[in-house]
Symmetry: C2
Subunit: 467 residues, 2 copies
């Protein structure tokens, strides 16, 4: 429990109305999209980096844990106040400070919603490519902290490829600037990217500089149906071999396709085994040429049929169907566990095969989708947290998937972060030496281990329940 003096110091910083201790309020900040939860002792709603620095000072003085929070859309348990303490609510730091069209750079506060930034940037004829599924809700701060990706990663990269500078409040309460308005800057080791994907474990991001680009002039959206999931894998590899880099290359398996049809009725054939949603974009002539290559390659790989979106509204319908996938899958069973195994592109077919084999062996319901162009697979476990026997099977299946993912040269996450749910797997990927290095960095920056403890690096095994 947090002492009254901590509360009163927080009230002095943020104002009494911005310090929440009533269970009815604190409960709201107890969970994220994993459905895991733990109610914090107190929530502080801050408005600027100076307040953040002061809150950090209080947390340090009293050795109280501090959990930064955006919109809470994480699916790795990143913002969950697992060991109690202060939730630092950052959504009021929501100003777009600058969209510099000459230098093609945006400067934003962490609480800006991704879709809001997208729209403002688009108004000025520019483009911010990262597009996580949750972009209408997720904050840019959360996207940076978790390394959010999205559908356009293959051609455009993910959040980490666009962050060029930050303002960060360190655990020692210093407010530091990293990076600069010069895209090329390289003075000393990269402090900016130390915070990208750091999930709030090293400091609080209070300002973000993002690189912007010009939007593509034309987009072509194609839906390719396959009777065999292996054929889809072959198509993916040969599209890229044919020197076409689509902006989007999404795989959906039968379970996913049927879930979309159940709830959205897009008109997808329910009997196909796999579907590729492919977008090519760029200069109009190139787009037409690339689309032709995609069609040829997919036919050769054994596609049953290929549908090309004829206009913007048809495109929106298809993209919206894909974007609705997580919510529709979530309707199938009470508990959804979204995994994020990322393998080298060439290993996607092996990974798909293994996921299916594991699914059958454990007799589980798994919907698979993935940003297959860059090897990012999302096996989505549809289960029920109340069914202890099934949950144990899920746990074993997840563990096997990650073992195989690492065996293939892959990694534990492509865009969802490690959070609390995957910290236990980190040593498999980074070995003892790597984890020692992670811990050394963490210790040097946050010696008291109060910044979002036990995320990424598992200092101790903590039991967190489902909501």
């Amino acid at each position: 429990m947090i002492s009254k003096s901590v509360i009163s110091e927080l009230e002095d910083i943020a104002g009494r109305e911005n310090v929440l201790t009533d269970y009815a309020y604190t409960f709201v900040y107890s969970y994220d999209a994993t459905q895991l939860h733990k109610v914090p002792d107190v929530v502080v709603i801050v408005s600027n980096s100076k307040q953040v620095s002061k809150v950090v000072k209080v947390a340090r003085k009293h050795k109280v844990n501090l959990y930064p929070r955006g919109s809470g859309t994480s699916i790795s348990g990143g913002p969950i106040p697992a060991e109690g303490g202060i939730v630092l609510e950052l959504s009021r730091l929501n100003k777009i400070l600058d969209i510099d069209t000459e230098n093609m750079i945006a400067v934003v506060e962490p609480g800006v919603i991704a879709a809001v930034l997208d729209a403002e940037v688009a108004k000025r004829g520019l483009f911010y490519p990262p597009d996580p599924g949750s972009l209408s809700v997720a904050t840019i701060g959360g996207c940076v902290a978790e390394g959010a990706g999205g559908l356009r990663g293959l051609k455009y990269g993910t959040t980490k490829n666009y962050v060029i500078g930050l303002e960060v409040v360190l655990p020692n309460s210093d407010i530091v600037q990293t990076g600069s308005f010069s895209l090329r800057g390289s003075p000393g080791f990269d402090l900016t990217h130390l915070f990208v994907c750091s999930e709030g474990t090293l400091g609080i991001i209070t300002k973000i500089m993002l690189k912007l680009i010009y939007p593509p002039k034309k987009i072509k959206t194609m839906l390719v149906m396959f009777d065999e999931i292996e054929s889809a894998g072959i198509a993916v590899a040969s599209i890229i071999e044919n020197k076409v880099i689509p902006s989007t290359m999404e795989l959906l398996d039968k379970v996913s396709i049927n879930a979309i049809e159940d709830f959205n009725r897009v008109g997808l054939p329910r009997d196909i085994e796999a579907l590729l949603l492919i977008e090519v974009d760029g200069e109009p002539e190139d787009v037409d040429k690339s689309a032709k290559v995609v069609e040829e390659v997919c036919s050769k790989a054994g596609a049953r049929s290929i549908e090309v979106a004829k206009n913007e509204s048809e495109r929106n319908r298809l993209m919206q169907a894909r974007r609705s996938l997580f919510p529709v899958l979530a309707r199938l069973r009470p508990t959804t566990i979204t995994e994020d195994a990322t393998v080298p592109r060439s290993k996607v077919p092996s990974m798909i095969k293994r996921i299916h084999e594991i699914k059958d062996r454990y007799n589980l319901l798994i919907g698979s989708c993935g940003h297959v162009g860059d090897g990012n697979m999302h096996p989505i476990f549809l289960t029920d947290k109340r069914d202890k026997v099934e949950m144990e099977k899920v746990e074993k299946a997840v563990s096997e998937i990650f073992d195989y993912c690492i065996e293939l040269g892959g990694t534990l996450t492509g865009e969802h972060g490690i959070g609390i749910v995957k910290a236990k797997f980190m040593e498999r990927e980074f070995k003892k030496e790597g984890m020692r290095f992670f811990s050394d960095i963490k210790k040097s920056i946050d010696p008291q281990n109060i910044m979002n403890p036990n995320k990424i690096i598992m200092a101790k095994d903590i039991k967190v329940d489902y909501i």
Copy 2:
């Protein structure tokens, strides 16, 4: 001085023939392209990461400084053994371990020469864009450690944008892996980019994973002559405003143009004030369209004339002229000091103006060139180290240039590193808090401060002489 027991331990690790202590040999490892120098106590030539780890262990045990070294082409004093100790010669770690065409990733040892990698990658139909001026000599390890850039940064980014994973020997002698074969990987804070631009101050890079791309299908090279340097600045901004992102956009001023003509006779008019060397690349139709935009925009900005390379050999002649710039400028006066001030693109005209004003005020000879598309200016001081009075003026001029660069929102280096020559300016850019953060990270990873000490972070003022 280093003790005999250190020498004998190093001999046990690398073999007697690979441990150099004779002045005639050690002298060779005393300098880089800055012409600053200090003779090391001993040079160890290693062949693999295990040997590196053992050498690190010896250095730590005896608290001896360790200076990793590639080809020594640095122009910031990065590899200079300024405080004596062991030079770790890495050029035998020169194997290309893998060029994975399916996943478009290369895995190399740090001693691989950049141009050798380029050629091997090209043979397989792939492309590694970073092209520092020294690419025929520089090692990839050096490029990663210094964040090397080159002419193609505007469109393609620099070395930092291509490094996706590393093997590093830490000062505690652990050999750790960072990153993975998955371009999207984001598990925890970014340990890979902590070493990019770290200049050997945090550990020794022993393996490098690089992202590769497809080469452009067509390149068009243009030479644009201007009577006013300001007009060139206007042209740069409006090319980008017109949504053309050239791969290369190089500015050369009158001093540079005449130096090239003096020694290379490319046929450039000697009376123009500025020249832009512009390359557009990509799909053939786009290249032609973009080139047309460039021509129109440059004419409107007041270009005197525009020359388009008609074939590959003409292109090579123009590019070679640009690439020869540093060597030809170096022939004008005994001492060359190459600076690397990088500003937001929109501030390039202001920076150019100020450099000229400073040059006139101090009556110095400065040749200016720059990767102006991404704001990276290279004022090159042509001076004489023996002329104490002039050298003092150079020092003041450099200091003023960086003050103004930072005032404009720029940074101390775009591609040459901080090394020993610019460590003293770091606090101007990063303030006290930022430098404390740099130091904290450095201390936690290298508590004895034996890894290339006093580079990037100036722990003490060290006098290093010119050769």
